[in-house]
C-alpha cells in the first residue's frame, strides 16, 4: 500500500468534524475529539484557515467551515448564475443611483468583474465584463477582503500598488479599513484607485452567511460624494441591492447545496 500523509489525513478529519453539523467548535473540543495534541490541532486549523477551508469566529474564537469549500464542491455558485440572478437588481440600482453598477468576485488575487450595467445617461460606455479591479483599493475589493478570508490573506500578502495619493498601502492601516468595512457593512473607494472616481460596494451573501461576491456603484466623485462624505442615499441603494440579490440567492440554490457546507 502506498504511503499516506498523516497531516492530510488529520486535516481531513478536522473538516469532517466541522462538517458534522451546523456548529462551531473550539480548539480544545477539536483536539480532544480527534485525540490530537492542542499544538498539532492548532497548526492544522491555522493552515486550513489560510487556505480558506476553515474560518474562525472573531468573537468566540471557535472554528467553522470556510468559504473556499463552497467554491470547491457541487454547491459552488457559477458566476454566470450569479449574474443571471443579479440582473434585475443591478439594473434597478443603476436607475436609482444614476451611476454605473459592477458585480465582482474574487479571482486570482483580484476582483473579476462579472457584470456591468451602464450609467443611465446616453453617453458612450464600454462593457467592462472580464476586467479586473485591485483588492486593496477598489470598493468591491475591500468588501471581498473584509468578508472573505482568502481575499483577506491575498490582499495582505500580495502587492499593493499606489494608484493615487489616496491609496492605502500600509498593511496596518488597510486592516483598519477592512475592519471598518466589515463593521459597517459596506466598502468605499474615494479616489483611491482612479482620480476623480468614487465607489461604494456591499457584500452578497449566501443563506449561510458566506460571501459570494460584491456589488457596487462607481461614479464621478462630485456626484457620489457630498462635502467629502459618500452620499447616504447611494450607500443605502447599494446595500438594498446587495441584500435583494442575497435574498434571491439564499432562498434557492443554497438550500439545495447546503449538504456540502
Amino acid at each position: 500500500m502506498a504511503r499516506t500523509i498523516q497531516s492530510l489525513e488529520r486535516a481531513a478529519a478536522v473538516l469532517r468534524l466541522l462538517a458534522g453539523g451546523e456548529r462551531r467548535l473550539g480548539l480544545s473540543d477539536i483536539a480532544s475529539t480527534l485525540e490530537l495534541a492542542k499544538g498539532t490541532a492548532h497548526g492544522l486549523l491555522r493552515t486550513l484557515q489560510q487556505e480558506g477551508f476553515v474560518e474562525q469566529d472573531p468573537l468566540s474564537g471557535k472554528y467553522q467551515l470556510g468559504a473556499e469549500l463552497l467554491r470547491l464542491g457541487n454547491s459552488y455558485l457559477d458566476v454566470h448564475e450569479l449574474r443571471a440572478r443579479a440582473l434585475v437588481w443591478a439594473d434597478d440600482l443603476a436607475r436609482s443611483s444614476g451611476e454605473s453598477v459592477y458585480l465582482g468576485v474574487l479571482h486570482q488575487q483580484g476582483v473579476l468583474i462579472i457584470h456591468h450595467v451602464f450609467r443611465p445617461d446616453d453617453s458612450r460606455q464600454v462593457l467592462e465584463v472580464g476586467a479586473m479591479q485591485p483588492l486593496h483599493s477598489s470598493a468591491l475589493g475591500k468588501v471581498l477582503s473584509a468578508y472573505d478570508p482568502v481575499a483577506h490573506s491575498d490582499v495582505l500578502e500580495g502587492e499593493r500598488r499606489r494608484f493615487t495619493g489616496h491609496t492605502v498601502t500600509d498593511p496596518k492601516k488597510l486592516e483598519q479599513v477592512l475592519a471598518l468595512t466589515k463593521g459597517r457593512g459596506w466598502g468605499a473607494d474615494v479616489e483611491e484607485t482612479w482620480d476623480g472616481l468614487a465607489s461604494v460596494a456591499a457584500p452578497i451573501h449566501s443563506r449561510r452567511g458566506l460571501l459570494l461576491g460584491a456589488v457596487g456603484v462607481t461614479g464621478a466623485v462630485e456626484r457620489v460624494c457630498d462635502a467629502g462624505e459618500l452620499r447616504a442615499r447611494i450607500v443605502a441603494s447599494v446595500r438594498d441591492c446587495a441584500r435583494a440579490i442575497s435574498r434571491d440567492l439564499g432562498a434557492g440554490r443554497f438550500q439545495a447545496g447546503r449538504g456540502a457546507v
Binding site: H80, E81, D91, D92, R95, F118, P120
Partner: protein, 507 residues
Amino acid sequence: MSDIHSTGPFIAAIDQGTTSSRCIVFDKDGRIVSVDQKEHEQILPKPGWVEHDATEIWQNVQQVVTGALDKAGITKQDVLALGITNQRETTLLWDKNTGEPVHNAIVWQDTRTDGLCRELGRNVGQDRFRRETGLPLASYFAGPKIRWLLDNVEGLRERAERGELLFGTMDSWVIWNLTGGVNGGVHVTDVTNASRTMLMNLHTMSWDPKICASIGVPMSVLPEIRSSAEVYGEATGDLAGLPVASALGDQQAALFGQTCYEIGEAKSTYGTGTFLLMNTGHEPVNSYNGLLTTVGYRIGDQDPVFALEGSIAVTGSLVQWMRDQMGMINSAAEIETLASSVDDNGGAYFVPAFSGLFAPYWRSDARGVIAGLTRYVTKAHLARAVLEATAWQTKEIVDAMHKDSDVDLTSLKVDGGMTANNLLMQTISDVLDAPVVRPMVAETTCLGAAYAAGLAVGFWSDTDELRANWKRAAEWTPQMDAAVRDREYNSWLKAVQRTMGWLEEES
C-alpha cells in the same frame, strides 16, 4: 422592487402570457414599482394539443392586478390607466349572454389545425392568404382554430349563426370581462392581435369578408378592430372607473417597449424560442423569404406601423436540452462557463433543427445535426456551438429581413432571459456585425403595454418622451474579423445543408 420610487401616478400593465398572467405597475420613468404573477394550468388533452381554461385565466388576471397594487402599496386611484398585452393567437369562443366559455381556449402552440390548414391551402398552398394577411396557412393562427371549434364542438356552429357567441384572443376576453362582461362589456381587439387571426386584411385594416367565408368563420362572432392605444372602456367591479387603454400582442408590445419607433429598428426576445421583429414603417412589406408580415402597433387614429417577424424555434430550449437531456451542465447559466473555457468551437457546428428548419428555410424534413466532429472536440466546444447556433440563426433572420425590406438593421435591441449570457450577446454582435443593446428594464413586454396605455390617457405625451425613458444597460460591439465571420458563416451554412432531407417523406 425598489425602496425608492416616485409617488405616482402609475400605469398598470397586464401580461396575459402562455404560462402565467402577470401585472406590473410602472412609474413615469418607466421603472418597475411592483410585480405580481400567477401561473395557470396547461391542459394537454392529446399529443400536440394545448388548451387553457379561460375562466381560470380571468380569475388570475383579477388577482394579479389586485396583488400588484397591494405590493406597490397603492390603490386604483393612484393608477391612471390599465394596459394589456397577451399571448398571441390563442383562441376562445364564449357565450355573450352567460359570459361562459363554450370550450377551453386553444393555445397558439396547438397543432390540431395542421390538417385543416393544408385543406384550406387547396391547390394554392400555404400562401393562399399571404398577400392579404401577411401570414402563411399554419396552425398557430386564430382563424382556422375558430373553424375547428365550430366544426368539432356540438351545436357551436348553430349558436354562432344565431349570434350567441363571441370570439376573442386573450386581449378581447380580458377587456370584455374588465369592462363589465355580460353587463355591457366591450367586444374589441387591437390591430396587432387582429393581424394574427388570418382574417384581417392588412391593406384595409378590417376583417376580410372573402377570407372569413373561405375559412368558414361567421363575421358576427368577430370583435371590433381598434387601435393599440386608445381608451376601449372603463373597468367595472373592484377596478371601477379605471380606463382600459391599450392592447398589444406580446411580441409587438416588446417592440413598443423597446421603443423601436423608426424604420429599421428591431428587437429580439431571447427565451426558449426567439422572436425578432423589425419596424418597416407605414406600408406592409411582403416577405419572399419566409418571414411574417404583421402589424407592429397603431396609436389612436395615427397610421398603423408594420413589422416583419421572424422566429427561431429552438434557442434557450437548446441550452435546456444540454442541461436536461445531455447532463453537460447543471444550470442554464453554466453554458457560458463551459463555453468560455475554450476560445472557439473547435470546428463543431450544432444545427438544432429538432422539428425541422423554420425561417428562412421552412424544411419540415430536416432534423438536427452536430457537424465537424473530430477527436479534438470537447463538451466545451459543443457548448460554444450551442451558443453560436442562436447567433447564426439570428443572422439568417436578419439577412432575410434585409432581402425583403431592403432596410439595414442599425442595431439590435435585445431582451429575455438569455440576455444574461454575455458570451452569447457578444457572439450575436460579432456575427451580425452590428451593435447589440440591452435596455435597463428587462420587462419590455409589460412596459410596451404600459407605454401604449399611458399615451392613450396623456400620461406620456408622445413616443419621443418614451424614447427618452429608454436607458441602455449594456452594449456589445462587433469584434470579429470579417474574414473569420465569412469562414464561420460558410461552415454554418454547410452544417445547415446537412440537416435537410433526413426524413424520407415530408410529414
